[in-house]
Amino acid sequence: MTRPPGRVLAAVTAALVALPAALLVACGGPGAEGPAGTPARPAASSPAGRPTGQAGRAARPLPRSVPVELRIPVIGVDTPVMRLGLAPDGTVQVPPVTAHDQAGWYGHSPTPGQVGPSVLLGHVTVGRYGDGVFRHLSRLRRGDRIEARLGNGTTAVFTVGSVRTVAKAHFPAREVYGDVDRPELRLITCGGPRTGNGYADNVIVFATLTAGTPPG
């Protein structure tokens, strides 16, 4: 049973084609939900907080009250919020790198629900401790729900308008920290390719206040 040489070549060629394809499939599995790349969220698993698929209309501003808790049901975030300031070099402080890290509110920005961009930050990964509180932030999509519970008991409900991944070298400070005419929220973490001990990009979620629920 001698196979013609053409078949041999075809078999080898098929193996060579299958080889990189197998590699691509493997890298696109769990790793694809990481901070970089195209998020791969399972369409069926939508536990909660996926109201309309649109950003919705802005709600009335809320009185100033610092955030104490942040919830993003669709990616399983439920974290206390700490206050952040400025580092000595003028950059924004970030939450400590710990096993159970939490999100932080930049204290020189408006509180969630006030007119202006309220800025919250969290880690995507925390070194040897693994995933950070904002590990899956890049999975958020337009229309997803974000809840910030404030110190006065009110819950500020935001709806995601857009999610952007930008190079740190071209961080859009004006879009993140610039004035706006309604209550907005910025969630920031890292993403993109790794560079040494960190990441090359930032993932930024832009959201708008769509409701404010009184203390229950």
Binding site: G31, H123, G127, G191, G198
Partner: protein, 143 residues
Amino acid sequence: MRRTVLSALALACTAVLASTVPAFADGGSPTTAPRKTPTAAPAEPGKTAPTPVPTEQAPSAEPTVPGTKPTAPRPVPTTAPTRAPSRGQVAVVPKGAPDTGVAVKTSQSGPDAAVIGGSAAGAALLAGGAAVFVVRRRRATGA
């Protein structure tokens, strides 16, 4: 002629495997590099620990006790900004981009690393099998 073609295919196969290795070099391939022993401090060195947010609303409606004189407002005990305050809604715009991610160390091989390692091993096996197949066919056909 056929030997030349087969040699070229083997070379291409080697190139594919070689090109995959640098792509995974940053991932979680387990190494035996000596690691620092974990310290008792939970925070990474060099990071300043931010203060927790108070659970009560600080600045508004200071309670007044009857019979006492209202006192002057106290300064808010926050971190003093190192830059001049701006007049925007964000009082002080930070420099640069936030550094909100410490990459996973190489000693931790998580599920991603296992998948990548498994796929690389599978690819090597596939390539080896293809080479053996080719050699056997060549011997069988007498080429």
